[in-house]
Structure formats: structure tokens, C-alpha cells
Amino acid sequence: MAAICIANNKGGVGKTTTAVNLAAGLARLNQRVLVVDVDGQANATYALTGRVHPVPSLYDVLVGDRKLETVIWQTNEENVWIVPGDGRLQNADVELAARPGREWRLAKALHGLEYDYIILDTPPSLGVLTQNALAAAHKVLVPISLTEFSLIGIDKLEQTIEELRDQLDLMDLDIAGVVATFYENNTAANETWGILEKKYEGRLLETRIPKNLDLEKAHRENESILSFAPGSSGGQAYAQLAKEVKRRVPAKTQPYDRRRHAYSA
């Protein structure tokens, strides 16, 4: 079991696309994968099931007292399940603000589950929901788009991870990799790549996700790029990314157990 949080406080960098297609890629490597849609926009839920803001959802687990096992759905992808999100999650930050141990609610709910990978798709913010996802994760994967504004504000995520690490005693929480998205072979993108390579030495993944219209079409058709257009540039890249992530973050055999000692916090 390995839990990977897909996070970046910037929007539109390909977090959901990466969560959905990485999950499908890992499933094709014979891994059992659970996607947890922590984002109130619930785009991963739609992309994998065709459902829009289903109820009950993760909200009922985090804010209510519903058991997480009762909101696990089979998705359109073989060997991929999902805990769906819905629009009510957008208020969850406020509703959870005064609760004790608010950062741990997701980790606690996931306890004991037996999957090879848990992929946590997060909202473009660093609020309580993202903190829950980071606290529940073993590693963080950061998609960064190779576009003009991609380099602004990326330090904020690292700072938050460091703060959480200290605050919640998550000594092993770390950025496992940075994956470049929206890659186009032009000078600007290659220069941005060069900057990231220096900044994230050894952590910038080799796989670059190209800008590819099929990725958007696949979402529209409620399936991963690996089902919709496996031979497309996007499909090949995500298949490659899954192999790379599996190599960097191998799944352990035991059930999910994240910092049990901290649950009483």
C-alpha cells in the first residue's frame, strides 16, 4: 500500500488529469487502485464514473460520520475504485475548522483499507481538505505545467508540506516527484523544464505529459486516456508515468496504516 497525494496549490496544472490517468496506468500494471476525490469540483469523479456531485460522498465521511467503505464505488476503469467527491466539499474547510484532529479525519477513515495504491486528488488550495490529503499520504506528486505562470508560487506548497511535517509529525512526508504537464517542444517550455530540473534535482520525473487534446476528450467520455486513446501521445506518456511512479513509490504489502499514533490528536 502506498498513498500518493496529487497536489499543487495552483489550478489548471493537470492534477485531476494526472490522478485519473495515473490510477488507470497503475491499474494496468496489475495494481488495485483507490482514487479519493478530495476536490469539491469533483472532476475526477465525473471523469471516472460519469456522475456529477453524487451523494453520499467523501463529504459525508469527513464532515458526517459515515464509514468510508460505504462510499467506495467501482469506476469505469478496471481495478480502479473511487471515493467520490461532491460540491459540498467546498464548504468543508469551514465546517472542519473547529474540529479537533481535523487534519487526520481522512487518514483515520482510510485506515485498514487494502489497495496497492491510494491516489488523492486535491483542490487548488492549501486548506483543511488538502491538509487532510497530505496527512493521509505517504508521498506527494506535484504536477507543474510548463507554461508561463507555472513557476510562480510553487514554493508555497513545499512550505506547507514542511509545516505539516513538523506540526503533524509526518517525518516521511515528502515530494516524491514533480511531473511536467502541458509539455510542448518549444523554447519557453524547455527553458522552464531546465529551471525545474535544477530546482527539483533528482525529483523531476523523466516522463513529460504533453499537451494533448485526447486527454480532455477522454474526460468528456468518462474514461482514462489509456482506455480512450492509448496510442495517443497523452496515453503513452501516462502509461510511462505509471511505470515511473511505481518504481519510485513501490506499494508495500500491508493495509493502509498512516501514523496511527496521531489519530487521537
Binding site: 464514473t49 460519469g50 456522475r51 456529477v52 464505488w73 467501482q74 469506476t75 469505469n76 474514461e223 480512450f228
Partner: protein
């Protein structure tokens, strides 16, 4: 200006311009000169010929049977005549309008086909290489409401749905599903043991397979 640039105007005359040319060239052959085409138009034949063009549905698009430069020359000549002779322009416009409003699908098809450049022709001429906006669109955005929650969670069971909703109800339910959901139903209920549908991205065909399977 390329002869294949689609007209985006809404005026009655502009979109009709290709069709008189189509009529002229199919009557007099691809070698008809621009001047001859103009004379034919002036002689009042265009209206009649346009209607004839509408009936030639089996013929390929005008653009496909004419050399690009010939087509361009012809269209320019016809356009000149239409500008010079308002009466002729009015008559051509009226004929086209009548054909369209009376449901003469063949003529509409010709208009549409001429207006929308083919990808092959674009590749040949270099037109549209920098933009995909002008390619024929197969997707039209609609409000996304998702799968009806009353149908159930996860991958749907078409057999249970048919039992509950009947054949028409199932058909309606399947109509709302996108490729991924249809493919998942086929996979989970083993409706394609030979794996023949693995790479099929035709939603209508997948719906047909599911409906057939549940009807047995």
C-alpha cells in the same frame, strides 16, 4: 484568399456563391472558363442549374472534382457577376433559400461540404495548419448533468435496468451514458468475450451490443 475558406456570414448571397459555380462546372465541365461561367450566370441559367446541383447528391463535393485554381477562378467570376447584377443575385439567393427551406437536403449538403474544408484538402493547401478551429466539429458542448443518480452507483447493471425500466427505459438510460460507462458495462457483464470491441470508440455501437445482450 483561399477558395476553401468557409463563409461565416449570414447573408443570403454569400453562402450561395459556390453553388452557381457548381452548377456551371457540372454542366460545362471543369475547363469552363471564368468568362463563360459569368455569361451563363447572366443568361439566367444559374437558378435552374443550382436546383439541378441539389439533385446530384451522389457526386463528390465540388472542390474534389475541380482543380483548386479553376474553382477559385470560377467562383471569382460568378461573384463578380453577382455583384454587377443585383437582379441576378436576388434570383440566385431566392433559389437557394427556397431549396434550403423546402428541405432539399442535397443542396444543403453541398453548401455545408463546400463551406467546411476537408482535412485532406487543408493538408494539401496548407490551410488550417495552424488552427484546429476550422475543422469539422464532432463535439458540441452541452450542460453536463451526469448519469441519472436513480440508475444506481458504480457500473450499471443493464439486465437489472431492463427488468426495472423495460427496453425503452434501458435505451433511454444508455443514451445518457458516455463511452467509458458503456465500455465498463460491457466489460463487467462480459458482453464481449471475444474482445472485438476493445478499441471501438463508437458509442452507438456499444449501446447496440448492450441492448442486444439484454434482449436475449
Amino acid at each position: 484568399m483561399s477558395q476553401r475558406r468557409p463563409s461565416r456570414t449570414t447573408g443570403a448571397v454569400t453562402p450561395t456563391a459556390p453553388n452557381p459555380a457548381a452548377a456551371v462546372t457540372t454542366t460545362k465541365g471543369a475547363t469552363t472558363s471564368a468568362r463563360a461561367a459569368g455569361r451563363a450566370a447572366r443568361a439566367g441559367e444559374v437558378t435552374q442549374l443550382t436546383k439541378q446541383a441539389a439533385q446530384r447528391t451522389a457526386e463528390p463535393a465540388v472542390a474534389a472534382v475541380l482543380a483548386p485554381e479553376t474553382l477559385a477562378r470560377t467562383l471569382r467570376a460568378v461573384a463578380d457577376e453577382l455583384e454587377r447584377d443585383p437582379d441576378l443575385a436576388r434570383r440566385v439567393a431566392a433559389a437557394i433559400r427556397d431549396a434550403l427551406t423546402q428541405g432539399e437536403a442535397p443542396l444543403r449538403a453541398v453548401v455545408d461540404e463546400v463551406a467546411a474544408p476537408s482535412e485532406a484538402a487543408d493538408a494539401e493547401t496548407g490551410v488550417g495548419k495552424t488552427s484546429t478551429a476550422r475543422k469539422a466539429r464532432t463535439f458540441k458542448p452541452t450542460l453536463v448533468t451526469g448519469t441519472d443518480p436513480t440508475l444506481g452507483t458504480g457500473v450499471l447493471d443493464p439486465f437489472a435496468l431492463r427488468e426495472r425500466l423495460g427496453a425503452d427505459g434501458l435505451r433511454q438510460a444508455l443514451r445518457e451514458l458516455r463511452l467509458g460507462s458503456l465500455r465498463a458495462i460491457i466489460r463487467e457483464h462480459r458482453l464481449d468475450p471475444g474482445g472485438k470491441l476493445a478499441g471501438v470508440n463508437d458509442a452507438e455501437r456499444l449501446r447496440g451490443v448492450i441492448l442486444d445482450a439484454t434482449a436475449r
